[in-house]
């Protein structure tokens, strides 16, 4: 026996480089196309052995020349020099990574044997932290390379426990200390405190989403002269106590959870009483519900207390995603879509973690193995969506129920009458069909006839023209739509229950019927949980049990160590245990997530720039110590969001001006204002814009909560036909009176398939994706909406009438309007310009008269019918317009009022109105 075979040679630096750096990259980036399928090697190249690389691909040249990286085709290709490998931007190697290959080839391209490989790996994996980064232990990846890969600590900052930073000394306010210290390091200073007029407008939109009145501004300015800090504190307290605070901040939350009143996809069914969840969120903010409680109720309210309606309503969170299950989709796929959506939403909403990335493979950058995805998935495996019964609470508004029910019943009656007339015609023809054949006695009603096999019976649509065939289908679907809409008046709530898979169609989701033996059996069947290989529901991988994110190293409450990151495997209790883990004061993702969101809404950007993604690909925190300090302080103060507002808004950082005496040098030093040397101006959001216009025109009805309202929408869009499965969606009819429809935008009926074009053009996000922060782009269609639309025109006329009533002369009226819109007084030259314009416009309007608007009470709809392949028409009743109270119309007012409305419309379009400083 030879000694050399017993004692392996000490691995060289090249061996180590290959084993620890080059080989994992080859496996991750190259083998997929160049080796995994030996019969299908792209370009004929096999990278799974040294021989393969030396031989090269179809070009006939070797891929590597040991010792000579510059001569090695592989090296050029991975540098994207002449050839581009791997071909996808996402897979492209970093400079550091291409250098590994260069150094390895330069070292002679050693390819150690399996034994050496294993020993190098084992030695490496035994060391938790070295110059290459840290190993994070998890429930385990799909490969050892993934399990033992190293992370740059900066990339996994969010997974680390909170730091306890020392507050820099020499500042009055802790926030200003953290911000000021960073500015000081760049030799920068904060801006001055903003003017009181600017501050009250900023705070009013920020906390209420509404403009301050001239009177409020005046008193705040006066109070500020006496004691600016006291005046500010009083102002914030007053705003936080306003019921409109909850409306404004609930909107932020609804953006994240993707609130809508309908389900999306082919039927876009109404999610009956989804509004109860919307109002729950508003109440939660107004009552300052502790955030840990807010989390638990939304994830597991039904498990906390199924008899408390409020808790059931809260679980509406688990019903927010776009989802449907119909006969057009396979059951397992629909179920997977639902659970994927819930897992993603929980990760994104509460943990600022993008779970979707690890559904098909271990996460590329974050310590999130696929196994953790399916452990979290298993936590919801017994969760079944259902509309459950929960009595209306005294604090829930039932205003408008009667009128609404009448409207639904009217449309149902209309559809039913039309349907029944067609049925009657068909059945008469069926009787004749039998009579003609002398078989009168064989006649059977349609439902029975339909189920009788055999061809010797009347055709399916006997007696109906192709036009009527199409119409019948429409009427039948309308009957289904309006019958279902009556659910609005039942105490239903969008919720969930625990049980086995029944695969109910999403048209009606209810608690299982335990009197039905089949349902009882299925609902008691505990679902099994597996990894789905590659995310494919038909490819079952290893089995998993419910669990939490293991890479966070923040354990659940099991005493046994091996169960430290697991959740109960019983039918009930999985979600509650998960919620308690998420809402635990020491869970660093949760606490950082919420304080970062609140910060982001106040400042227009988060401390960590992607509030939905704290992973390696999200923006890193600009002030990590401040973030951690805020998170700890937040928990300390009882998870109170209102206290967090107080803390943030009492800082100078929040109160500073949006202008800065050294703006030019700041532009060079900090072009994106990451250090917050000045307050970032922002454009009004879509809802703020609409709500502010209504508030200023005097039309806003400030009633809180209840059934969704339907504002006026551009009528071309409102009445445009829209395909649903089997039919067309009913037209958008606005609420009947101005009082009902001119309420805040958060109450507007949100139909996934029909976004309001005016809100959409001002960046209201679609309801299918979670929105972490609004965009504020400037696009030309905004001009068409705000300058030309009937809706903007109506607001301007109402505002003109208001200011004409509240001020005497045109000059005073213009000054009043200016203050209402911009929160300050106009310059004398601007007053002159506007008064002159008003006078010219009076002359114009004396010569140009508007026609009154007429509203259709019946519309002709047309679509291409799939039974016939031809366009066909039918009548749809617009019952609301039969007894409609329009908003004030141009045709109803004097030329002087229209001229003043021109000035008002310009104010609504002015940058001074659209932006907050």
């Amino acid at each position: 026996m030879m000694i050399s075979s017993l004692v392996a040679a000490e691995p060289t630096e090249g061996d180590r480089l290959f084993t620890l750096k080059v080989l994992p990259l080859l496996k991750e980036k190259c083998v997929g196309c160049h080796g995994r399928e030996p019969d299908n090697l792209q370009g004929g190249l096999d990278v799974t052995s040294l021989e393969g690389l030396l031989q090269g691909g179809e070009s006939g040249e070797p891929s590597i020349v040991p010792g000579q990286p510059e001569e090695s085709m592989l090296y050029w290709a991975i540098c994207w020099d002449g050839m581009e490998m791997p071909p996808k931007e996402n897979d492209r190697l970093s400079l550091e990574e291409t250098d590994y290959f260069r150094d390895w080839i330069a070292a002679g391209a050693p390819w150690p044997n399996a034994e050496t490989l294993a020993s190098i790996q084992q030695n490496e994996w035994a060391v938790a932290e070295n110059g290459d980064g840290i190993i994070i232990s998890t429930s385990g990846g799909q490969s050892k390379e993934w399990t033992y890969r190293r992370y740059d600590p900066a990339d996994v900052w969010a997974f680390q426990p909170l730091e306890e930073p020392t507050i820099p000394v020499g500042y009055e306010h802790p926030i200003d200390a953290f911000i000021g210290e960073k500015l000081r390091q760049q030799a920068m200073t904060s801006a001055e405190r903003a003017e009181p007029e600017t501050l009250i407008r900023r705070a009013s939109f920020d906390l209420l989403g509404l403009p301050p009145s001239p009177h409020e501004i005046e008193s705040f300015v006066q109070a500020s002269k006496k004691n600016p800090n006291q005046a500010w504190e009083n102002l914030i307290e007053r705003f936080l106590a306003s019921p409109h605070y909850g409306e404004r901040w609930a909107q932020h939350w609804l953006d994240v959870v993707r609130y809508a009143d309908t389900s999306g996809f082919s039927n876009d069914w109404e999610r009956s009483n989804a509004w109860r969840y919307r109002d729950y969120v508003i109440r939660a903010f107004n009552e300052d519900k502790p955030y840990d409680q807010f989390i638990k109720e939304q994830i597991a309210g039904d498990e906390l207390d199924p008899d408390d309606p409020e808790k059931l309503i809260a679980t509406g969170f688990l019903r927010m995603g776009p989802w449907e299950h119909t006969g057009m989709s396979p059951e397992l796929v629909s179920r997977q879509l639902y659970l994927d959506d819930v897992v993603n939403s929980v990760g994104q909403t509460f943990l600022s973690t993008a779970m979707r990335c690890c559904k098909c493979h271990d996460h590329k950058f974050d310590p999130l193995p696929t196994k953790d995805y399916y452990r979290l998935y298993a936590a919801f495996a017994t969760t079944q969506p259902a509309e459950r019964s929960a009595p209306f609470l005294p604090e829930e508004s039932k205003s408008g129920f009667d009128e609404n029910r009448q409207h639904v019943e009217t449309l149902l009656r209309f559809a039913k009458e039309k349907q029944d007339a067609l049925y009657a015609k068909r059945e008469a023809a069926a009787r004749s069909w039998y009579a003609e054949r002398g078989r009168e006695e064989e006649y059977q009603p349609y439902e029975i006839r339909k189920k009788t096999p055999g061809g010797d019976k009347p055709p399916r649509f006997v007696g109906l023209t192709t036009q009527e065939e199409g119409e019948l289908k429409i009427r039948e679907q309308d009957v289904r739509i309006w019958t279902r809409r009556l659910e609005r008046f039942e105490p239903l709530v969008q919720s969930v229950y625990n049980g086995g898979d029944l695969y109910q169609k999403s048209q009606t989701l209810r608690l299982p019927n335990l009197n039905n033996p089949k349902q009882r059996e299925l609902t008691n069947l505990l679902p099994e949980s597996n990894i789905y290989e590659g995310g494919d529901v038909y490819s079952l991988g290893a089995s998993v049990t419910p669990g939490v994110l293991s890479g966070l190293h923040f354990a659940t409450f099991s005493a046994e160590t091996e169960k430290a990151f697991t959740l109960p495997e019983t039918m009930d209790g999985r979600r509650l245990a998960l919620a308690e883990w998420i809402a635990h004061p020491e869970n660093p993702l949760t606490t950082r997530s919420i304080v970062n969101r609140i910060w982001a809404y106040h400042f227009g950007k988060g401390i960590a720039g992607n509030p939905n993604n704290f992973g390696a690909t999200g923006k890193k925190p600009t002030h990590p110590q401040l973030l951690d300090w805020l998170a700890a302080e937040f928990v300390e103060q009882g998870w109170s969001i209102k206290n967090l507002h107080r803390l943030i808004m009492s800082s100078h950082t929040y109160q500073q001006a949006s202008t800065h005496s050294e703006r030019d040098s700041i532009r060079e030093l900090d072009p994106n204002n990451e250090l917050l040397a000045y307050f970032e101006p922002r454009r009004l959001s879509a809802e703020e814009l609409r709500d502010a216009m209504l508030a200023i025109s005097g039309e806003l009805n400030r009633q809180i909560g209840g059934l969704p309202i339907k504002p006026e929408m551009n009528r071309e869009v409102a009445l445009a036909p829209r395909m649903l499965q089997f039919s067309l969606a009913p037209a958008w009819q606005p609420s009947r009176t101005p009082q009902e429809r001119n309420r805040r935008s958060i109450y507007a009926y949100r139909v996934r398939g029909l976004p309001d074009p005016m809100l959409e053009v001002f960046n209201k996000p679609n309801a299918d994706d979670s929105c972490e922060l609004r965009d504020a782009s400037s696009v030309t269609p905004q001009v068409f909406s705000l300058m030309n639309s009937e809706i903007a025109t109506q607001r301007s006329i109402a505002m003109a009438l208001r200011i004409k009533q509240e001020a005497m002369t045109p000059r005073e009226q213009i000054i009043h309007g200016y203050r209402l819109c911009f929160g300050k007084l106009p310059t004398e030259s601007m007053v002159k310009t506007l008064v002159r314009h008003y006078e010219q416009m009076v002359t114009y309007h004396q010569e140009h008269s508007p026609q009154p608007t007429t509203y259709p009470t019946m519309i002709t709809r047309s679509l291409v019918e799939e039974f016939s392949g031809e366009p066909f028409e039918y009548q749809e009743m617009l019952d609301i317009y039969k007894d409609y109270t329009p908003d004030v119309q141009a045709a109803d007012v004097s030329p002087e009022a229209r001229a003043m409305a021109d000035c008002c419309l310009l104010m609504f379009n002015a940058n001074a109105f659209l932006f907050i400083y």
Binding site: E89, M328, R460, A910
Partner: protein, 468 residues
């Protein structure tokens, strides 16, 4: 002004800025290179086409009854079978029977492309010889909205940018005063609505803009009738004065200028867009070529003719929907009517583009969201002569820029149940489409949600057999 400020100033839809005031637009076009988001950008490689016209047959046209005849079904017609495949939707499980095509087929053009008897105009030799029929595409979902989203955006959940958004993001548009991506729907918007032409995570400048062929072409393009153009001008001048005063108080606020410029651009578009969509200037011969003189073809023909005008004006991507192809029942009459409604307009479009020398630069794509099954469900004991949804096989055709002429590529099994020859998923069609426009799907990416996203989602393969 630094780069960021410059970009902000230019960050508005339909691109080109003009300085304020009323300088003629043409002068500006001559004097200033467009710099907005829709400014033309260099492709990744030599393109084969500059623009795309997508003809979308919503509902799922049957390949078996259009471009993929299956004589085997004649023998099996009305024969029963039962399937309980777990992967199927409720719709396609259970007691089923085969359905033969109700139509005769003919060999069209010099290439002898099989077409159903109701394609009269596409079957003309000069048209048929331009077509490249593809029978190998496979969808994934059999649910309309999911499949529509998949074909239009690459992602069956919706929420991602549409093909036209990616194209305008990658290439910009040749005309800065029109949207780069225009959509014209059927009488009713398709299932899934505007999600089918959404800009997704791309900036809003790349969103598909619905254009109406009757009434106001763009939403709220013009003010109420009692406000005339002089009134608009006078008001815009006062607005400008207000904004100017505001700008002087906030000289560092970059976003103000872009909003101000948008008002001037909008004012010009109010004049120009209605002229563009006015078809009265087209000769009677042209109108007739598109079938505008026949009620059966008028609606789709009008949209095809508008598509030609838009592409002529430099619009990058035009998408036209035709509805009503979801023939679960009565397929004989329903598909016959749908085929007749699009046959002449599409043939007219191809002939017109060819006559104008535009066909080589314009890629026409005809597709639905999936194909249809060779069989149907027995419902209540009755045999309905129609077909259900089929994600495994479908038909599409291409014409113009860079695709084979007079070709049939790929094939399905003998029943037409599944693509078996040159079979590719939708993503490969997307990769090929981008390739023809000079774009590499792997390079046309946008960083969003933690990774570089692309139309094909995770990459795809070119289908070389389709290329000329």
């Amino acid at each position: 002004m630094n780069q960021t400020a410059m970009l902000n100033r230019r960050n508005f839809l339909y691109g080109l800025g003009a300085s304020l005031g009323s300088v003629a637009l043409t002068d500006l076009l001559a004097s200033e290179q467009p710099t907005g988001p829709l400014a033309p950008k260099a492709p990744h490689h030599q393109p084969r086409a500059k623009a795309v016209i997508m003809l979308f047959m919503e509902g799922g046209p049957s390949h078996i009854d259009t471009f993929d005849p299956k004589p085997k079904l004649d023998q099996l017609h009305l024969k029963n079978f039962v399937t309980e495949n777990k992967k199927l939707a409720g719709m396609t499980k259970g007691n089923r029977f085969f359905v033969r095509s109700p139509y005769q087929f003919k060999q069209a053009g010099n290439a002898g492309i099989p077409m159903c008897e109701h394609f009269h105009h596409l079957a003309e030799t000069e048209v048929a010889d331009e077509l490249c029929v593809y029978r190998g595409c496979q969808a994934e979902s059999v649910n309309h909205p999911a499949a529509l989203f998949h074909m239009n955006t690459g992602n069956s959940f919706g929420g991602d940018p549409a093909i036209g958004s990616w194209l305008t993001y990658g290439l910009g548009s040749e005309n800065q005063n029109l949207p780069g991506y225009v959509v014209m729907t059927e009488l009713a918007a398709p299932q899934g609505g505007s999600g089918n032409w959404s800009n997704g995570f791309l900036p809003p400048s790349f969103q598909g803009t619905p254009l109406r062929s009757k009434g106001s072409p763009l939403l709220d393009l013009t003010p109420p009738s009692w406000k005339n153009r002089a009134h608009q001008r006078a008001n815009l001048d006062v607005l400008h004065a207000m904004n100017q005063e505001h700008l002087s108080e906030h000289p560092h606020h970059d976003q103000l200028a872009a909003r101000m410029e948008n008002y001037e651009l909008a004012f010009r578009m109010q004049m120009e867009v209605p002229e563009l969509v006015d078809l009265r200037n087209e000769t009677p011969a042209t109108q007739s070529m598109y079938g505008l003189d026949d009620p059966e073809t008028e609606s789709f023909g009008r949209r095809c003719l508008l598509a030609r005008k838009l592409v002529e004006q430099g619009v990058r991507c035009v998408q036209i929907f035709s509805g009503g192809w979801d023939s679960h029942d009565f397929i004989e009459r329903a598909h016959r009517k749908r085929i007749r409604s699009v046959d002449k307009p599409i043939a007219g479009l191809i002939k017109d583009l060819n006559a104008r020398g535009m066909l080589d630069d314009t890629l026409i794509v005809w597709t639905g969201e999936f194909g249809r099954t060779p069989d149907n469900t027995v419902r209540g004991g009755e045999t309905a002569i129609g077909r259900d949804h089929n994600a495994e096989a479908m038909a599409m055709f291409f014409a113009g820029g860079g695709v084979k002429k007079g070709a049939v590529v790929g094939g399905t099994d003998e029943l037409g149940a599944k693509a078996v020859d040159i079979a590719h998923p939708i993503r490969d069609v997307h990769v090929t489409l981008l390739h023809l426009l000079g774009l590499d799907d792997n390079k046309l990416t946008y960083f969003h949600g933690g990774r570089f996203k692309q139309l094909s989602q995770f990459g795809g393969k070119l289908i070389p057999e389709l290329l000329a």
